[in-house]
Protein backbone atom coordinates (compact mmCIF):
# COMPACT_ATOMS: atom_id res chain seq x y z
CA UNK A 1 0.00 0.00 0.00
CA UNK A 2 1.02 3.59 -0.48
CA UNK A 3 2.58 5.57 2.27
CA UNK A 4 2.53 9.35 2.39
CA UNK A 5 5.50 10.69 4.34
CA UNK A 6 5.87 14.07 6.00
CA UNK A 7 8.21 15.08 3.21
CA UNK A 8 5.53 14.12 0.67
CA UNK A 9 3.05 16.36 2.48
CA UNK A 10 5.45 19.30 2.41
CA UNK A 11 6.17 18.66 -1.27
CA UNK A 12 2.45 18.52 -2.13
CA UNK A 13 1.85 21.67 -0.07
CA UNK A 14 4.56 23.41 -2.05
CA UNK A 15 3.06 22.26 -5.37
CA UNK A 16 -0.30 23.54 -4.10
CA UNK A 17 1.06 26.91 -2.86
CA UNK A 18 -0.04 26.17 0.68
CA UNK A 19 2.15 27.18 3.59
CA UNK A 20 1.02 24.72 6.25
CA UNK A 21 1.74 24.85 9.97
CA UNK A 22 3.46 21.76 11.42
CA UNK A 23 0.31 20.65 13.24
CA UNK A 24 -1.74 20.90 10.04
CA UNK A 25 0.87 18.96 8.08
CA UNK A 26 0.75 16.11 10.62
CA UNK A 27 -3.03 15.86 10.42
CA UNK A 28 -3.07 16.07 6.65
CA UNK A 29 -0.43 13.34 6.36
CA UNK A 30 -2.80 10.85 8.00
CA UNK A 31 -5.82 12.03 5.97
CA UNK A 32 -4.00 11.96 2.64
CA UNK A 33 -2.60 8.52 3.40
CA UNK A 34 -6.12 7.18 4.05
CA UNK A 35 -7.56 8.85 0.95
CA UNK A 36 -4.79 7.59 -1.32
CA UNK A 37 -5.26 4.08 0.06
CA UNK A 38 -8.96 4.34 -0.68
CA UNK A 39 -8.62 5.57 -4.27
CA UNK A 40 -5.89 2.99 -4.88
CA UNK A 41 -8.62 0.31 -5.19
CA UNK A 42 -9.14 1.49 -8.77
CA UNK A 43 -5.94 -0.32 -9.75
CA UNK A 44 -7.85 -3.63 -9.58
CA UNK A 45 -10.20 -2.55 -12.39
CA UNK A 46 -9.29 -3.73 -15.89
CA UNK A 47 -9.41 -0.75 -18.23
CA UNK A 48 -7.31 -2.12 -21.10
CA UNK A 49 -8.36 -0.56 -24.37
CA UNK A 50 -10.89 1.81 -22.73
CA UNK A 51 -10.87 5.44 -23.86
CA UNK A 52 -10.75 8.00 -21.04
CA UNK A 53 -13.71 10.37 -20.60
CA UNK A 54 -12.79 14.02 -20.72
CA UNK A 55 -16.12 15.68 -21.34
CA UNK A 56 -19.81 14.85 -21.19
CA UNK A 57 -21.72 17.20 -23.47
CA UNK A 58 -20.48 16.05 -26.88
CA UNK A 59 -20.38 19.74 -27.76
CA UNK A 60 -17.50 20.48 -30.11
CA UNK A 61 -15.99 23.71 -31.35
CA UNK A 62 -18.41 26.11 -29.72
CA UNK A 63 -17.66 29.31 -31.59
CA UNK A 64 -18.37 32.91 -30.82
CA UNK A 65 -17.71 36.09 -32.76
CA UNK A 66 -14.41 37.72 -31.93
CA UNK A 67 -16.11 40.81 -30.52
CA UNK A 68 -14.89 42.77 -27.53
CA UNK A 69 -17.33 42.36 -24.64
CA UNK A 70 -16.43 43.65 -21.19
CA UNK A 71 -19.54 41.98 -19.66
CA UNK A 72 -20.28 45.27 -17.96
CA UNK A 73 -17.05 45.12 -15.95
CA UNK A 74 -14.63 48.03 -16.05
CA UNK A 75 -10.92 47.66 -15.29
CA UNK A 76 -11.35 50.02 -12.35
CA UNK A 77 -14.09 47.85 -10.87
CA UNK A 78 -11.89 44.75 -11.09
CA UNK A 79 -8.76 46.41 -9.69
CA UNK A 80 -10.91 47.66 -6.81
CA UNK A 81 -11.43 44.02 -5.78
CA UNK A 82 -7.70 43.59 -5.12
CA UNK A 83 -6.60 43.68 -1.48
CA UNK A 84 -3.99 46.34 -2.33
CA UNK A 85 -3.78 48.64 -5.32
CA UNK A 86 -2.00 51.82 -6.34
CA UNK A 87 -2.86 54.07 -9.28
CA UNK A 88 -5.28 51.50 -10.71
CA UNK A 89 -2.67 48.73 -10.55
CA UNK A 90 -2.58 45.69 -8.25
CA UNK A 91 0.17 45.88 -5.66
CA UNK A 92 2.20 42.81 -4.58
CA UNK A 93 5.46 42.32 -2.64
CA UNK A 94 8.67 42.67 -4.58
CA UNK A 95 9.18 39.70 -6.94
CA UNK A 96 12.85 40.09 -7.87
Amino acid sequence: MTQISRDDVQHLAQLSSLQLTDAEADGLRVDLDNIVNYIHQLSELNTNGVEPTYQLTDLENVWRNDDVNDYGLSGEKLVALAPESLENQIKVPKVL
Binding site: Q19, N34, I39, P83
Partner: protein, 460 residues
Protein backbone atom coordinates in the same frame (compact mmCIF):
# COMPACT_ATOMS: atom_id res chain seq x y z
CA UNK B 1 -49.31 21.11 -4.90
CA UNK B 2 -47.42 24.14 -6.17
CA UNK B 3 -46.29 26.59 -3.56
CA UNK B 4 -44.89 29.24 -5.89
CA UNK B 5 -48.39 29.95 -7.25
CA UNK B 6 -49.47 31.13 -3.78
CA UNK B 7 -46.84 33.87 -3.90
CA UNK B 8 -47.65 35.14 -7.37
CA UNK B 9 -50.94 36.72 -6.35
CA UNK B 10 -49.53 38.47 -3.25
CA UNK B 11 -47.77 41.80 -2.90
CA UNK B 12 -44.05 41.30 -3.53
CA UNK B 13 -43.15 43.56 -0.60
CA UNK B 14 -45.33 41.44 1.69
CA UNK B 15 -43.77 38.24 0.31
CA UNK B 16 -40.27 39.56 0.98
CA UNK B 17 -41.09 40.89 4.45
CA UNK B 18 -42.68 37.59 5.45
CA UNK B 19 -39.70 35.60 4.15
CA UNK B 20 -37.22 37.82 5.99
CA UNK B 21 -39.23 37.67 9.22
CA UNK B 22 -39.32 33.89 8.95
CA UNK B 23 -35.59 33.76 8.27
CA UNK B 24 -34.95 35.83 11.40
CA UNK B 25 -37.22 33.60 13.53
CA UNK B 26 -35.18 30.60 12.40
CA UNK B 27 -31.70 32.08 12.84
CA UNK B 28 -30.66 29.25 15.19
CA UNK B 29 -30.54 26.82 12.23
CA UNK B 30 -27.74 28.92 10.75
CA UNK B 31 -29.05 28.23 7.26
CA UNK B 32 -28.31 31.75 6.00
CA UNK B 33 -25.03 33.63 6.01
CA UNK B 34 -26.59 36.95 5.00
CA UNK B 35 -29.90 38.55 4.17
CA UNK B 36 -30.10 40.88 1.19
CA UNK B 37 -33.00 42.80 2.67
CA UNK B 38 -32.36 46.29 1.29
CA UNK B 39 -31.97 45.19 -2.30
CA UNK B 40 -34.83 42.67 -1.99
CA UNK B 41 -37.26 45.33 -0.76
CA UNK B 42 -36.20 47.75 -3.50
CA UNK B 43 -36.85 45.11 -6.14
CA UNK B 44 -40.13 44.09 -4.49
CA UNK B 45 -41.37 47.69 -4.65
CA UNK B 46 -40.58 47.71 -8.37
CA UNK B 47 -42.51 44.47 -8.85
CA UNK B 48 -45.51 45.90 -7.00
CA UNK B 49 -45.29 49.05 -9.13
CA UNK B 50 -45.50 46.87 -12.24
CA UNK B 51 -41.95 47.75 -13.38
CA UNK B 52 -40.77 44.11 -13.18
CA UNK B 53 -43.00 41.18 -14.02
CA UNK B 54 -42.77 37.59 -15.20
CA UNK B 55 -43.40 33.98 -14.33
CA UNK B 56 -41.86 34.41 -10.86
CA UNK B 57 -43.08 37.88 -10.10
CA UNK B 58 -42.56 38.74 -6.45
CA UNK B 59 -41.44 35.22 -5.48
CA UNK B 60 -38.66 35.27 -2.86
CA UNK B 61 -35.77 32.83 -3.14
CA UNK B 62 -32.38 32.11 -1.61
CA UNK B 63 -29.08 31.35 -3.34
CA UNK B 64 -26.32 29.12 -2.10
CA UNK B 65 -23.50 31.50 -1.24
CA UNK B 66 -21.29 30.28 -4.08
CA UNK B 67 -23.53 32.10 -6.60
CA UNK B 68 -22.33 35.60 -7.36
CA UNK B 69 -25.25 37.80 -6.38
CA UNK B 70 -25.67 41.42 -5.37
CA UNK B 71 -26.80 42.66 -1.97
CA UNK B 72 -24.29 40.84 0.26
CA UNK B 73 -20.78 39.40 -0.12
CA UNK B 74 -20.38 36.11 -1.99
CA UNK B 75 -18.30 34.16 0.51
CA UNK B 76 -18.49 30.50 -0.64
CA UNK B 77 -18.60 30.05 3.19
CA UNK B 78 -14.86 30.71 3.27
CA UNK B 79 -12.50 33.19 4.90
CA UNK B 80 -10.94 33.51 1.45
CA UNK B 81 -14.00 35.29 0.07
CA UNK B 82 -15.46 36.59 3.34
CA UNK B 83 -15.48 40.18 2.07
CA UNK B 84 -15.89 39.53 -1.66
CA UNK B 85 -18.53 41.82 -3.17
CA UNK B 86 -19.36 40.28 -6.52
CA UNK B 87 -19.00 42.69 -9.44
CA UNK B 88 -21.56 40.69 -11.47
CA UNK B 89 -24.38 38.20 -10.92
CA UNK B 90 -24.58 34.55 -11.94
CA UNK B 91 -26.57 33.95 -15.14
CA UNK B 92 -28.97 31.70 -13.17
CA UNK B 93 -29.71 34.57 -10.76
CA UNK B 94 -30.08 37.07 -13.62
CA UNK B 95 -32.56 34.79 -15.40
CA UNK B 96 -34.67 34.35 -12.26
CA UNK B 97 -34.62 38.10 -11.59
CA UNK B 98 -35.67 38.78 -15.18
CA UNK B 99 -38.83 36.77 -14.41
CA UNK B 100 -39.51 38.82 -11.28
CA UNK B 101 -38.05 36.55 -8.59
CA UNK B 102 -36.41 38.25 -5.61
CA UNK B 103 -33.28 36.96 -3.87
CA UNK B 104 -33.62 37.54 -0.11
CA UNK B 105 -30.45 35.90 1.17
CA UNK B 106 -27.39 33.75 0.80
CA UNK B 107 -27.33 30.23 2.16
CA UNK B 108 -24.60 28.46 4.11
CA UNK B 109 -22.55 25.67 2.50
CA UNK B 110 -19.39 23.66 3.01
CA UNK B 111 -16.58 26.07 2.15
CA UNK B 112 -16.17 26.10 -1.66
CA UNK B 113 -18.85 23.36 -1.71
CA UNK B 114 -16.38 20.78 -0.44
CA UNK B 115 -18.34 18.49 1.83
CA UNK B 116 -21.51 16.54 2.48
CA UNK B 117 -22.77 18.07 5.72
CA UNK B 118 -22.24 21.88 5.68
CA UNK B 119 -19.92 21.33 8.67
CA UNK B 120 -16.98 22.55 6.55
CA UNK B 121 -18.42 26.08 6.44
CA UNK B 122 -15.86 28.53 7.81
CA UNK B 123 -18.78 30.15 9.65
CA UNK B 124 -20.20 27.08 11.44
CA UNK B 125 -22.58 24.29 10.46
CA UNK B 126 -26.23 24.50 9.43
CA UNK B 127 -28.64 22.41 11.49
CA UNK B 128 -31.09 19.91 10.07
CA UNK B 129 -34.64 21.23 9.66
CA UNK B 130 -36.07 18.15 11.42
CA UNK B 131 -33.53 17.68 14.23
CA UNK B 132 -31.11 20.38 15.29
CA UNK B 133 -28.59 17.83 16.57
CA UNK B 134 -28.23 16.43 13.05
CA UNK B 135 -26.43 17.77 9.99
CA UNK B 136 -28.24 19.58 7.20
CA UNK B 137 -26.38 17.55 4.61
CA UNK B 138 -24.29 19.30 2.05
CA UNK B 139 -22.76 20.98 0.51
CA UNK B 140 -25.96 22.96 -0.25
CA UNK B 141 -27.22 22.46 3.33
CA UNK B 142 -28.46 26.00 3.90
CA UNK B 143 -30.51 26.01 0.69
CA UNK B 144 -32.21 22.72 1.63
CA UNK B 145 -33.03 23.94 5.15
CA UNK B 146 -34.53 27.31 4.09
CA UNK B 147 -36.79 25.43 1.68
CA UNK B 148 -37.76 22.83 4.31
CA UNK B 149 -38.51 25.54 6.88
CA UNK B 150 -40.76 27.27 4.34
CA UNK B 151 -38.75 30.50 4.49
CA UNK B 152 -38.82 30.60 0.68
CA UNK B 153 -40.58 28.34 -1.85
CA UNK B 154 -37.36 27.59 -3.70
CA UNK B 155 -33.60 27.91 -3.31
CA UNK B 156 -30.64 27.44 -5.62
CA UNK B 157 -27.86 24.96 -5.10
CA UNK B 158 -24.93 23.47 -6.94
CA UNK B 159 -24.30 19.73 -7.18
CA UNK B 160 -20.87 18.36 -8.06
CA UNK B 161 -21.23 14.91 -6.48
CA UNK B 162 -24.52 15.03 -4.58
CA UNK B 163 -24.54 18.50 -3.02
CA UNK B 164 -28.19 19.14 -3.94
CA UNK B 165 -29.57 15.61 -3.67
CA UNK B 166 -28.13 14.63 -0.29
CA UNK B 167 -29.31 17.69 1.69
CA UNK B 168 -32.68 17.44 -0.09
CA UNK B 169 -32.96 13.87 1.18
CA UNK B 170 -31.94 14.90 4.71
CA UNK B 171 -34.54 17.69 4.88
CA UNK B 172 -37.60 16.26 3.10
CA UNK B 173 -37.54 18.53 0.05
CA UNK B 174 -37.15 18.00 -3.69
CA UNK B 175 -33.67 18.50 -5.08
CA UNK B 176 -32.80 18.40 -8.77
CA UNK B 177 -29.36 18.00 -10.28
CA UNK B 178 -30.01 18.42 -13.97
CA UNK B 179 -28.19 16.93 -16.95
CA UNK B 180 -24.64 18.31 -17.09
CA UNK B 181 -24.77 21.51 -19.15
CA UNK B 182 -28.45 22.35 -18.56
CA UNK B 183 -27.95 25.56 -16.57
CA UNK B 184 -25.20 28.12 -17.05
CA UNK B 185 -22.45 28.13 -14.44
CA UNK B 186 -21.31 31.64 -15.29
CA UNK B 187 -20.91 33.48 -11.99
CA UNK B 188 -20.88 30.38 -9.81
CA UNK B 189 -17.70 29.62 -7.85
CA UNK B 190 -16.13 26.74 -9.77
CA UNK B 191 -15.32 23.48 -8.00
CA UNK B 192 -14.97 20.59 -10.47
CA UNK B 193 -15.85 21.78 -13.94
CA UNK B 194 -16.55 18.35 -15.47
CA UNK B 195 -19.39 17.65 -13.03
CA UNK B 196 -20.49 21.03 -11.51
CA UNK B 197 -24.23 21.43 -12.13
CA UNK B 198 -26.74 24.09 -11.07
CA UNK B 199 -30.15 23.08 -9.77
CA UNK B 200 -32.79 23.89 -7.19
CA UNK B 201 -34.67 22.86 -4.07
CA UNK B 202 -38.48 23.00 -3.94
CA UNK B 203 -41.28 21.36 -1.97
CA UNK B 204 -42.93 19.77 -5.02
CA UNK B 205 -42.19 18.70 -8.58
CA UNK B 206 -44.26 21.37 -10.33
CA UNK B 207 -42.28 24.19 -8.71
CA UNK B 208 -39.02 22.52 -9.74
CA UNK B 209 -40.34 22.39 -13.33
CA UNK B 210 -41.05 26.10 -13.27
CA UNK B 211 -37.67 27.11 -11.79
CA UNK B 212 -35.75 24.81 -14.14
CA UNK B 213 -37.69 26.14 -17.15
CA UNK B 214 -36.53 29.64 -16.27
CA UNK B 215 -32.87 28.73 -15.63
CA UNK B 216 -32.18 26.19 -18.40
CA UNK B 217 -30.65 27.05 -21.73
CA UNK B 218 -27.52 28.01 -23.60
CA UNK B 219 -25.49 30.91 -22.26
CA UNK B 220 -22.82 32.49 -24.45
CA UNK B 221 -20.91 33.14 -21.20
CA UNK B 222 -20.70 29.38 -20.44
CA UNK B 223 -19.57 27.41 -23.48
CA UNK B 224 -20.52 24.09 -21.85
CA UNK B 225 -24.25 24.88 -21.77
CA UNK B 226 -26.63 22.87 -23.93
CA UNK B 227 -29.37 24.38 -26.10
CA UNK B 228 -32.55 24.54 -24.02
CA UNK B 229 -34.26 21.16 -23.99
CA UNK B 230 -36.13 21.40 -20.69
CA UNK B 231 -39.88 21.24 -21.19
CA UNK B 232 -42.26 20.10 -18.44
CA UNK B 233 -44.07 16.93 -19.46
CA UNK B 234 -46.28 14.08 -18.20
CA UNK B 235 -45.55 10.36 -18.06
CA UNK B 236 -48.02 7.58 -18.76
CA UNK B 237 -48.29 4.40 -16.66
CA UNK B 238 -46.07 1.61 -17.91
CA UNK B 239 -42.67 3.25 -17.40
CA UNK B 240 -39.87 0.72 -17.01
CA UNK B 241 -37.79 1.46 -13.95
CA UNK B 242 -34.63 -0.24 -12.78
CA UNK B 243 -33.95 -0.61 -9.05
CA UNK B 244 -30.16 -0.44 -8.73
CA UNK B 245 -29.21 -3.54 -6.69
CA UNK B 246 -25.72 -2.21 -6.03
CA UNK B 247 -27.32 0.68 -4.09
CA UNK B 248 -29.42 -1.61 -1.88
CA UNK B 249 -26.68 -3.54 -0.09
CA UNK B 250 -26.36 -4.26 3.63
CA UNK B 251 -24.18 -1.15 3.94
CA UNK B 252 -27.31 0.93 3.46
CA UNK B 253 -29.42 1.68 6.53
CA UNK B 254 -32.39 -0.77 6.65
CA UNK B 255 -34.88 2.06 7.17
CA UNK B 256 -33.55 3.84 4.09
CA UNK B 257 -33.94 0.64 2.05
CA UNK B 258 -37.46 0.23 3.45
CA UNK B 259 -38.48 3.73 2.30
CA UNK B 260 -37.05 3.02 -1.17
CA UNK B 261 -39.04 -0.22 -1.29
CA UNK B 262 -42.18 1.70 -0.25
CA UNK B 263 -41.62 4.08 -3.14
CA UNK B 264 -41.10 1.14 -5.49
CA UNK B 265 -44.45 -0.26 -4.33
CA UNK B 266 -46.09 3.09 -5.11
CA UNK B 267 -44.53 3.12 -8.57
CA UNK B 268 -45.93 -0.36 -9.20
CA UNK B 269 -49.33 0.64 -7.85
CA UNK B 270 -49.30 3.56 -10.31
CA UNK B 271 -48.87 1.11 -13.18
CA UNK B 272 -45.10 1.26 -13.69
CA UNK B 273 -42.86 -1.79 -13.73
CA UNK B 274 -39.82 -2.02 -11.48
CA UNK B 275 -37.08 -4.62 -11.87
CA UNK B 276 -33.73 -5.05 -10.18
CA UNK B 277 -30.75 -4.06 -12.33
CA UNK B 278 -26.99 -4.18 -11.85
CA UNK B 279 -24.45 -1.38 -12.09
CA UNK B 280 -21.25 -3.19 -11.12
CA UNK B 281 -18.84 -0.28 -11.67
CA UNK B 282 -20.84 1.81 -9.19
CA UNK B 283 -18.72 0.42 -6.37
CA UNK B 284 -15.71 2.17 -7.90
CA UNK B 285 -17.54 5.45 -8.48
CA UNK B 286 -16.43 7.04 -5.23
CA UNK B 287 -12.78 6.25 -5.93
CA UNK B 288 -13.13 7.67 -9.46
CA UNK B 289 -14.80 10.75 -8.04
CA UNK B 290 -12.14 11.38 -5.40
CA UNK B 291 -9.48 11.38 -8.11
CA UNK B 292 -11.20 13.36 -10.86
CA UNK B 293 -12.79 15.97 -8.62
CA UNK B 294 -9.73 16.85 -6.48
CA UNK B 295 -7.72 17.10 -9.70
CA UNK B 296 -10.16 19.69 -11.03
CA UNK B 297 -10.43 21.36 -7.61
CA UNK B 298 -6.67 21.85 -7.44
CA UNK B 299 -6.79 23.66 -10.79
CA UNK B 300 -9.94 25.68 -10.14
CA UNK B 301 -8.79 26.86 -6.71
CA UNK B 302 -5.39 27.95 -8.02
CA UNK B 303 -7.00 31.30 -8.83
CA UNK B 304 -7.23 32.15 -5.11
CA UNK B 305 -3.76 33.58 -4.77
CA UNK B 306 -4.35 36.60 -2.54
CA UNK B 307 -3.39 38.92 -5.39
CA UNK B 308 -6.40 39.96 -7.46
CA UNK B 309 -9.26 39.42 -5.00
CA UNK B 310 -10.06 37.56 -1.83
CA UNK B 311 -8.06 37.20 1.36
CA UNK B 312 -4.45 38.39 1.48
CA UNK B 313 -2.25 37.47 4.47
CA UNK B 314 -0.71 40.37 6.32
CA UNK B 315 2.95 41.07 6.91
CA UNK B 316 4.31 38.91 4.09
CA UNK B 317 7.68 39.70 2.54
CA UNK B 318 7.79 37.63 -0.64
CA UNK B 319 5.31 36.66 -3.35
CA UNK B 320 5.65 32.93 -2.51
CA UNK B 321 4.86 33.70 1.11
CA UNK B 322 1.89 35.82 0.02
CA UNK B 323 0.44 32.89 -1.97
CA UNK B 324 1.21 30.27 0.65
CA UNK B 325 -0.04 32.12 3.72
CA UNK B 326 -3.10 33.67 2.05
CA UNK B 327 -4.18 30.22 0.87
CA UNK B 328 -3.42 28.57 4.19
CA UNK B 329 -5.50 31.19 6.04
CA UNK B 330 -8.29 31.40 3.44
CA UNK B 331 -9.05 27.69 3.00
CA UNK B 332 -10.54 25.21 5.47
CA UNK B 333 -8.85 21.84 6.02
CA UNK B 334 -11.12 20.02 3.57
CA UNK B 335 -10.19 22.49 0.80
CA UNK B 336 -6.52 21.77 1.49
CA UNK B 337 -7.07 18.00 1.47
CA UNK B 338 -8.72 18.16 -1.93
CA UNK B 339 -6.18 20.54 -3.44
CA UNK B 340 -3.31 18.35 -2.23
CA UNK B 341 -4.92 15.11 -3.40
CA UNK B 342 -5.40 16.82 -6.76
CA UNK B 343 -1.75 17.78 -6.84
CA UNK B 344 -0.87 14.19 -5.94
CA UNK B 345 -2.95 12.42 -8.62
CA UNK B 346 -1.82 14.87 -11.29
CA UNK B 347 1.89 14.74 -10.44
CA UNK B 348 4.27 13.03 -12.84
CA UNK B 349 4.73 9.38 -11.97
CA UNK B 350 1.20 9.07 -10.58
CA UNK B 351 -0.84 10.58 -13.42
CA UNK B 352 -1.40 7.32 -15.35
CA UNK B 353 -2.07 5.24 -12.25
CA UNK B 354 -4.69 7.59 -10.82
CA UNK B 355 -6.06 10.31 -13.09
CA UNK B 356 -5.92 8.43 -16.39
CA UNK B 357 -7.16 5.21 -14.79
CA UNK B 358 -10.05 7.13 -13.19
CA UNK B 359 -11.09 8.72 -16.49
CA UNK B 360 -11.04 5.27 -18.14
CA UNK B 361 -13.08 3.79 -15.29
CA UNK B 362 -15.47 6.69 -15.75
CA UNK B 363 -16.02 5.56 -19.35
CA UNK B 364 -16.90 2.06 -18.08
CA UNK B 365 -19.41 3.55 -15.65
CA UNK B 366 -20.99 5.74 -18.35
CA UNK B 367 -21.24 2.73 -20.70
CA UNK B 368 -23.03 0.72 -18.00
CA UNK B 369 -25.54 3.50 -17.46
CA UNK B 370 -26.09 3.93 -21.21
CA UNK B 371 -26.70 0.21 -21.59
CA UNK B 372 -29.31 0.23 -18.82
CA UNK B 373 -31.08 3.16 -20.43
CA UNK B 374 -31.52 1.13 -23.60
CA UNK B 375 -34.05 -0.90 -21.62
CA UNK B 376 -35.18 1.35 -18.77
CA UNK B 377 -36.79 4.79 -18.61
CA UNK B 378 -35.34 5.61 -15.20
CA UNK B 379 -33.31 4.13 -12.38
CA UNK B 380 -34.18 4.27 -8.70
CA UNK B 381 -32.25 3.86 -5.46
CA UNK B 382 -31.50 5.65 -2.22
CA UNK B 383 -29.90 9.11 -2.22
CA UNK B 384 -27.59 8.45 0.71
CA UNK B 385 -26.80 5.34 2.76
CA UNK B 386 -28.20 6.88 5.95
CA UNK B 387 -30.58 9.60 7.07
CA UNK B 388 -29.00 12.79 8.48
CA UNK B 389 -26.17 11.91 10.87
CA UNK B 390 -25.22 13.66 14.10
CA UNK B 391 -23.27 16.91 13.88
CA UNK B 392 -19.62 16.02 14.51
CA UNK B 393 -20.07 12.28 13.89
CA UNK B 394 -17.96 12.11 10.70
CA UNK B 395 -15.74 15.17 10.90
CA UNK B 396 -12.67 13.32 12.18
CA UNK B 397 -12.65 10.80 9.33
CA UNK B 398 -12.75 12.20 5.78
CA UNK B 399 -13.36 8.77 4.19
CA UNK B 400 -16.41 8.22 6.39
CA UNK B 401 -17.71 11.62 5.28
CA UNK B 402 -17.02 10.84 1.61
CA UNK B 403 -19.01 7.58 1.85
CA UNK B 404 -22.19 9.65 2.21
CA UNK B 405 -21.71 10.49 -1.51
CA UNK B 406 -21.40 6.89 -2.67
CA UNK B 407 -24.78 6.76 -4.43
CA UNK B 408 -24.88 10.31 -5.74
CA UNK B 409 -21.48 10.48 -7.45
CA UNK B 410 -22.25 7.92 -10.21
CA UNK B 411 -24.85 10.16 -11.91
CA UNK B 412 -22.50 13.14 -11.52
CA UNK B 413 -19.60 11.38 -13.21
CA UNK B 414 -21.89 10.38 -16.08
CA UNK B 415 -23.53 13.81 -16.39
CA UNK B 416 -27.00 12.32 -15.90
CA UNK B 417 -30.00 14.09 -14.41
CA UNK B 418 -30.87 12.86 -10.93
CA UNK B 419 -33.43 14.05 -8.43
CA UNK B 420 -34.09 13.47 -4.77
CA UNK B 421 -37.75 12.98 -3.93
CA UNK B 422 -39.17 12.89 -0.38
CA UNK B 423 -40.09 9.30 0.52
CA UNK B 424 -41.15 9.35 4.14
CA UNK B 425 -39.19 9.18 7.34
CA UNK B 426 -37.47 6.86 9.78
CA UNK B 427 -39.01 5.77 13.08
CA UNK B 428 -36.92 8.49 14.67
CA UNK B 429 -38.60 11.11 12.46
CA UNK B 430 -35.71 11.79 10.08
CA UNK B 431 -36.57 12.32 6.40
CA UNK B 432 -35.47 9.87 3.71
CA UNK B 433 -35.32 10.64 0.01
CA UNK B 434 -35.25 8.37 -3.01
CA UNK B 435 -33.10 9.10 -6.02
CA UNK B 436 -34.42 8.90 -9.56
CA UNK B 437 -31.76 8.91 -12.28
CA UNK B 438 -32.56 9.42 -15.95
CA UNK B 439 -30.84 9.54 -19.30
CA UNK B 440 -29.22 12.76 -20.43
CA UNK B 441 -31.88 15.41 -21.20
CA UNK B 442 -34.61 13.37 -19.47
CA UNK B 443 -34.79 15.82 -16.55
CA UNK B 444 -38.40 16.78 -17.14
CA UNK B 445 -39.45 13.13 -17.39
CA UNK B 446 -37.94 12.40 -13.97
CA UNK B 447 -39.90 15.28 -12.47
CA UNK B 448 -43.03 14.09 -14.29
CA UNK B 449 -42.59 10.63 -12.79
CA UNK B 450 -42.36 12.10 -9.29
CA UNK B 451 -45.32 14.37 -10.07
CA UNK B 452 -47.46 11.42 -11.14
CA UNK B 453 -46.96 9.84 -7.71
CA UNK B 454 -47.75 13.10 -5.92
CA UNK B 455 -51.18 13.11 -7.55
CA UNK B 456 -51.74 9.49 -6.44
CA UNK B 457 -50.97 10.61 -2.89
CA UNK B 458 -53.40 13.48 -3.17
CA UNK B 459 -56.16 11.10 -4.28
CA UNK B 460 -55.63 8.68 -1.38
Amino acid sequence: MTKIADYLSNSAVENVKRAIAKAQENEDYHALLALTETRALERAAKVDAGLITGRLKGVPFVVKDNFLAFGAPTTAASKMLEKFDAPLQATAVEKLEAEGAICIGKANLDAFAHGGSTENSAFGPTKNAYDKSKVAGGSSGGSAVVTALDIVPFALGSDTGGSIREPASFNDVYGIKPTYGTVSRYGVVAMASSTDSIGCFTTNAADAELVMSVMAGRDPKDMTTLPDFFAPTEVKPGQKIGLVKDFMTDDVDPEVRARVNDYVAKLRAAGHSVEEVELPTAKYALAIYYIVVPAEVSSNLARYDGVRYGHRAEGVKTLAELYGRSRDEGFVTENKRRIMIGSYVLSSGFFDAYYLQAQKARTLLINEFDKLFENYDALIGPVAPTPAFAIGANTADPIKMYLADIMTVPASLAGLPAISVPAGETEGGLPVGVQLIGKRRDDARLLALAKSLESTEAKQ
